[in-house]
């Protein structure tokens, strides 16, 4: 009889323990569910930053991890969308200034001519200035379209195995009159041997043209060097000048779109050349950077992989 009593008491105790355990477990789950409910409400309202925190041995673990994953992914997409929207807005504002300024002054010149404020030789000069401004504006708008196409990844690329040495020599041949016109000495160091690399020829021409244009317009130097080096699986194109260099203040921003240093704002630049060059280099999975050389002047380096 006593034995039976002990057994019964023992079973009862175990049952109680199990019930107690289950109740606490249930309570924990209920607590978790109310947190999940709360968080989901918040997420539904658009707060994709909300996360649900769980412990290693919670029953709701996998559900919570999945909810968090969904929130993180949506958040990332939302942010990307917002960023491109902002970039577009910035483009529109800078566009309005950068087009408006030359256009306004162009109107000023034309009005002066039309209202006959100027005559004879002065009039001819006004017409020439106005024409220059119109050309500059046209170039700017063209660069801008290129940029927008690049930015929207709409540009079509034709990667071809090409001899970069020969291609560069061809590009430079067209530049020689411009070098001479602007009183620049040039020194070219390109090997006669073939150096095959995968690239889109038009894009490569743009990169080199933009860097040379930049050196002529802004360096205030008298000499341009172009050198091509092969290093293992990479090709390095180096364009340097002996000009005034780039101030440390401007250096971090020179590849930013529409960034212009105080000095270059007054010249014929448009703040797009280097940005376009950078974008093109990136599309070839290469890198581009600039530094001031110790002997004065700036060195631009483009590193391109031979095979993409």
């Amino acid at each position: 009889m006593m034995n039976w009593f002990y057994i019964l008491a023992f079973v009862l105790a175990i049952c109680l323990i199990i019930i107690f355990y289950l109740v606490t477990k249930l309570q924990r789950v209920a607590e978790q569910i109310s947190i999940i409910e709360d968080s989901l409400g918040d997420i539904k309202k658009g707060n994709w930053n909300r996360r649900i925190l769980v412990n290693e041995n919670d029953m709701t673990k996998t559900i919570c991890y999945s909810i968090n994953d969904i929130a993180i992914n949506s958040q990332t997409q939302l942010i990307q969308l917002k960023q491109s929207e902002q970039a577009y807005k910035r483009l529109m504002t800078s566009l309005s200034h950068d087009v408006k300024t030359p256009l306004t002054s162009l109107v000023g010149y034309l009005e002066a001519i039309q209202k006959k404020f100027v005559t004879g030789e002065e009039k001819e000069e006004y017409i020439e200035v106005a024409l220059n401004k119109a050309h500059h504006l046209k170039d700017f708008v063209e660069s801008l379209f290129d940029w927008v196409k690049l930015d929207a990844k709409e540009q079509v690329f034709q990667l071809k195995q090409s001899d970069i040495n020969e291609l560069t020599r061809d590009i430079l041949a067209d530049w020689i009159p411009t070098f001479e016109e602007n009183r620049f000495d040039y020194h070219i160091d390109i090997s006669d041997e073939e150096c095959l690399i995968q690239l889109d020829q038009n894009s490569y021409m743009r990169m080199v043209n933009n860097l040379l244009q930049n050196a002529i317009a802004h360096s205030k130097g008298t000499k341009i060097n172009l050198k091509i080096m092969e290093k293992g699986e990479e090709v390095i194109v180096q364009i340097s000048d002996n000009g005034k260099g780039i101030s440390p203040h401007d250096m971090p921003h020179i590849f930013d779109r529409l960034y212009q240093s105080d000095e270059s704002r007054s010249t014929n630049g448009n703040g797009l050349g280097l940005a376009i060059a950078k974008e093109l280099v990136h599309l070839h999975k290469g890198t581009i950077y600039a530094e001031n050389s110790l002997s004065g002047g700036t060195v631009f380096m483009i590193k391109l992989p031979k095979a993409l």
Partner: protein, 307 residues
């Protein structure tokens, strides 16, 4: 629903008779970095501690995520990550072990939270190095890793770059910026270094002797503080013609039909005005904007300056 992640209303803290924080109304907007700028002892840390419930509030209110924090601490604090002063870690454990303890205590949003947090701040995962052997910079990084371990919506960072070398400062700045730009976090950060804050913050609050003197967006401040002459004229095309022909000016930009910015501030404005008048362009106003941010803060804090 308000857009403020943190809003304080007449927040005040008394230490004895001294008002450490005096009627502060702070507004931290969602997804932005709010820089609290002030000298040492201005009350920055006390404000942060009151928001986090680490010190009692003498009077006033703190709203976090749009609701008063009182009585909701348990729901609210898991959604905040913070570093206030030096974080307490166990010296005889490694960085990873320390974070695993905090992960157990607070719970995590993903299975590999510790690894992710260490990756963000650039510390090695499962490294053998004990916390006591860490350099000051590594300790600070581990503190930040601990603050972002549970992927919180709001970060409250009290001088997180204290004691770091210049490269470390730049790195920390970059990943705080990234957290905000790429992951949409809201950040409240304090500093006594103006240049630091101006590189990082979207909004700024200037605090001096416990009083919030000014709250403004950096964009607004930058607009106010440039180095140019703002010229408001009746006919902007004609004005540009005169400036180009008579003054040889090329460095300017046109902002709307009547507004010009001239970046060459050495220009003799008296003769410009005269030339414009002679050609029947009326000058409505011309204004020289050449305040630097430093000048501006000096003005606000009444001559003492901050950095």
């Amino acid at each position: 629903m308000t857009n403020y992640i943190i809003e304080t209303k007449q927040l005040t803290k008394l230490f004895g008779n001294q008002k450490a924080v005096n009627n502060v109304n702070l507004h931290v907007k969602k997804g932005r970095i709010y820089g609290l700028l002030g000298r040492n002892g201005a009350g920055k840390t006390t404000i942060m501690k009151m928001i986090l419930g680490l010190t009692s509030i003498t009077s006033g209110e703190v709203d976090v995520f749009g609701k008063n924090i009182k009585g909701r601490e348990k729901q609210v604090y898991p959604r905040i990550g913070a570093i206030i002063e030096t974080p307490g870690f166990y010296p005889n454990l490694t960085g990873t072990e320390n974070l695993e303890i905090f992960a157990k205590l607070r719970g995590t949003p993903a299975p590999n939270a510790v690894k992710n947090a260490l990756e963000v701040v650039g510390l090695p995962y499962k490294d053998k190095k004990l916390f006591s052997e860490y350099s000051l910079g590594m300790k600070q990084r581990l503190g930040i890793a601990n603050a972002i371990l549970h992927d919180p919506e709001l970060l409250i960072l009290d001088e997180p770059t204290n004691g770091l070398d210049p490269i470390g400062i730049a790195e920390v700045r970059d990943f705080i910026k990234n957290l905000s730009v790429e992951r949409g976090k809201t950040v409240l950060i304090s500093s006594h270094i103006l240049s630091e804050i101006s590189l990082l913050a979207d909004d700024i609050g200037i605090i001096d002797h416990g009083v919030l003197l000014e709250e403004s967006s950096m964009e607004e401040l930058r607009r106010k503080n440039g180095n140019y002459i703002l010229l408001h004229v009746s006919d902007v095309s004609k004005a540009t013609l005169i400036l180009e022909r008579q003054f040889g000016l090329k460095d300017y930009s046109v902002h709307d039909d009547h507004m010009l910015r001239i970046y060459d501030t050495s220009l003799d404005m008296a003769s410009v005005n005269k030339a414009l008048m002679l050609d029947e362009v009326s000058v409505i106003s011309s204004q020289l904007c050449n305040d630097t941010l430093e000048d501006y803060f000096r003005k606000i804090t009444g001559g003492d300056g901050i950095a």
